[in-house]
Symmetry: C2
Subunit: 137 residues, 2 copies
DNA sequence: TCCAAATCTATAGCTTCTGGAGCATTAGAT
DNA sequence: ATCTAATGCTCCAGAAGCTATAGATTTGGA
């Protein structure tokens, strides 16, 4: 039996976050001690670790809910789980591409060395005038 | 004189967002028409375009507030503006690196082709068992 | 037994918007 | 001048995913 604090330490999920996940229905409401404190079993530790890992990978609460539901049915085909992961991979790749565009833009903007005044600062001017951009965004 | 709708069309910032920026103090409360509608000048159009551009580059409202304050003082040295942009570039690069780690992880996980069952699905197992990961996160 | 640490509930706040309800104003056509 | 469709107003709630606070209670160890 783990207290909520134990669970938090073992999974790295903060205590209020565990309670939040319970509220969101990602984990079931656990048994309570005589004094009404949450008491968890190993099963719930594993489930929370699963959630933590998926969150670390950037999956949304919604996707995780779906994956957890799927994992309750080991006999079903896994195409759906595969689809969720693949879809997420696509969004991750899009995000990377987007950020790399920003990186290039910022690199150009930051080329100013800070030894002059705001009046002719490239950072400020570049932000004020979109037409100075190299890429579209 | 622009109405809020004009401003929105010209800058690509949605109307409620413009009102939100006003509330947040990024743009000043403009003049009003007799009937209490917002009426903007070119100055405010430019300021909003600046904000839009900076947001597109991912700068926080706080950073933008600072940059706008700086731009009011063209005679001051621009080291601070430079610092804000450089700092942002660093966080962008960190985000990219983080996402690339996730990309590699997801690529490995997704290698499953969806033609079997949940019971032995690599997606599900990889999420359940952190030790299957190639990288730390 | 006593006390500090942990936990409880309920609620509000964070960030950056976005959307809706219900009503008022405006611009353009007639 | 009048009508009407589009636009604007304020206020409030919600989205995502937590985080923090307050004030009360429970727990575990000395």
């Amino acid at each position: 039996m783990y207290s909520i604090g134990d669970l938090s330490r073992r999974t790295g999920v903060k205590i209020p976050t565990i309670r939040y996940y319970e509220q969101m229905g990602l984990i079931a409401a656990p048994e309570r001690s005589e004094g009404n404190q949450r008491r968890y079993e190993k099963r719930e530790l594993e489930r929370l670790a699963f959630i933590r890992h998926a969150r670390d990978l950037g999956l949304s609460i919604e996707s995780i809910r779906d994956l957890l539901a799927l994992s309750q049915h080991p006999e079903r085909p896994c195409g759906e789980a595969d689809r969720i992961a693949k879809e997420h991979l696509i969004t991750v790749r899009e995000k990377i591409a987007q950020l790399q565009k920003l990186e290039r833009e910022l690199e150009r903007i930051v080329a100013c060395n800070g030894d002059h005044t705001i009046g002719d600062c490239y950072v400020i001017r570049a932000l004020a005038d979109h037409s100075m951009c190299g890429t579209d965004h």
